[in-house]
């Protein structure tokens, strides 16, 4: 092992090491943020789908009630 580096020479190495760690954490956080955005988007799509189905089902029920019953079925017309 060589003699200790003076502060001016050692500083950039120490800064680089800590910046590498910071960069790793930030990259991880960015990846997690991207995943979270995707999950949020998919939840939105699912919610929209469920809502659309609910609307279609309601409309179907209304159609069933308002549709004229076939003649001779005994159902009120």
């Amino acid at each position: 092992m060589g003699p200790a580096l003076p502060l001016g020479d050692a500083g950039p190495y120490v800064a680089a090491a800590y910046l590498v760690f910071l960069a790793l954490v930030l990259v991880y956080v960015a990846i997690m943020a991207a995943k979270l955005s995707r999950i949020q988007r998919e939840i939105g799509e699912l919610a929209e789908l469920v809502e659309r189905r609910g609307t279609e089902r309601d409309r179907g029920d209304v159609d069933d009630v308002t549709a004229p019953a076939p003649a001779g079925s005994g159902a009120p017309r």
Binding site: L5, A10, V14, L24, L36, I39, E42, L46
Partner: protein
């Protein structure tokens, strides 16, 4: 799957991670004295060593969850094993890069192939770098989980054996910081190191929980999609993935 709430305790853990890491790094520069031998560059030690220790412990934890999966068949243990190894790999990259920077500053070279500690850590890293490709290469989720668990157990057993073998080696220019005799660090350095190590360990647990929470949310979404697709007599294809399928 729904009975598990992976996000429980995530907020306090996140806060503890930030407090311990920021506090630890503040102690590194404001409290711990400069090393008499290496000078200011020794400050990398408080980052590099905790990264390496936590990464190695994480690999062992992955093996322990692998054993639990093989014993119980519970897919959650497979998921935990996967996440522990995944986060440990990220920390291992950090340990390798910071170690290389420290080597350049101390020894004048980015890498010393004659040094067993460095090479053995690289071997462990490369071994675990095969973990995800192995998982991805197996399409059947059951086989994927079983083979990955066996890999994790063998790898997890290899880590401490490797560590002991390196300790027994003769050629050592890499400093021995933690020894059975208690090491040679003065009190202020030791306290700073312990805080930095605790911060790294808590950050590891926090990141694992983040990853588990994210994966759990994705699985729940996929399950919901399947249910909705089932109503349409449709089919949602499961994308091939290295990640466990719950």
């Amino acid at each position: 799957m729904n009975r598990h709430t992976f996000s429980r305790g995530l907020v306090p853990l996140s806060i503890a991670s930030v407090v311990l890491l920021v506090g630890g790094f503040a102690m590194v520069f404001l409290y711990a004295p400069s090393d008499a031998d290496q000078g200011f560059v020794q400050k990398i030690f408080y980052l590099h060593v905790p990264l390496a220790i936590v990464a190695l412990v994480g690999f062992v934890a992955g093996g322990v969850y692998g054993i639990r999966f093989l014993r119980s068949g519970d897919r959650l243990h497979d998921l935990r094993s996967y996440v522990a190894i995944h986060i440990s790999l990220i920390l291992a990259v950090g340990a390798l890069v910071t170690g290389s920077i420290w080597a350049k500053a101390s020894w004048g070279q980015w890498w010393v192939w004659e040094e067993p500690t460095l090479v053995s850590f690289l071997i462990v890293f490369l071994l675990y770098a095969c973990y995800q490709p192995l998982r991805f290469s197996i399409e059947d989720p059951d086989r994927q989980a079983r083979y990955a668990a066996v890999f994790a157990v063998v790898g997890g057993a290899f880590v401490p054996l490797n560590f002991m073998a390196v300790r027994a080696a003769e050629s050592l220019i890499h400093p021995r910081v933690l020894s059975t005799t208690g090491g040679t660090m003065p009190g202020s350095m030791r306290i700073t190191f312990v805080v930095a190590l605790a911060g790294m360990a808590v950050m590891f647990v926090t990141l694992c929980k983040y990853e588990l929470t994210s994966k759990h949310a994705s699985f729940q979404l996929r399950a919901l999609k399947r249910r909705l697709a089932g109503e349409d007599d449709g089919w949602v294809p499961v994308r091939r993935s290295a990640a466990p399928q719950l």
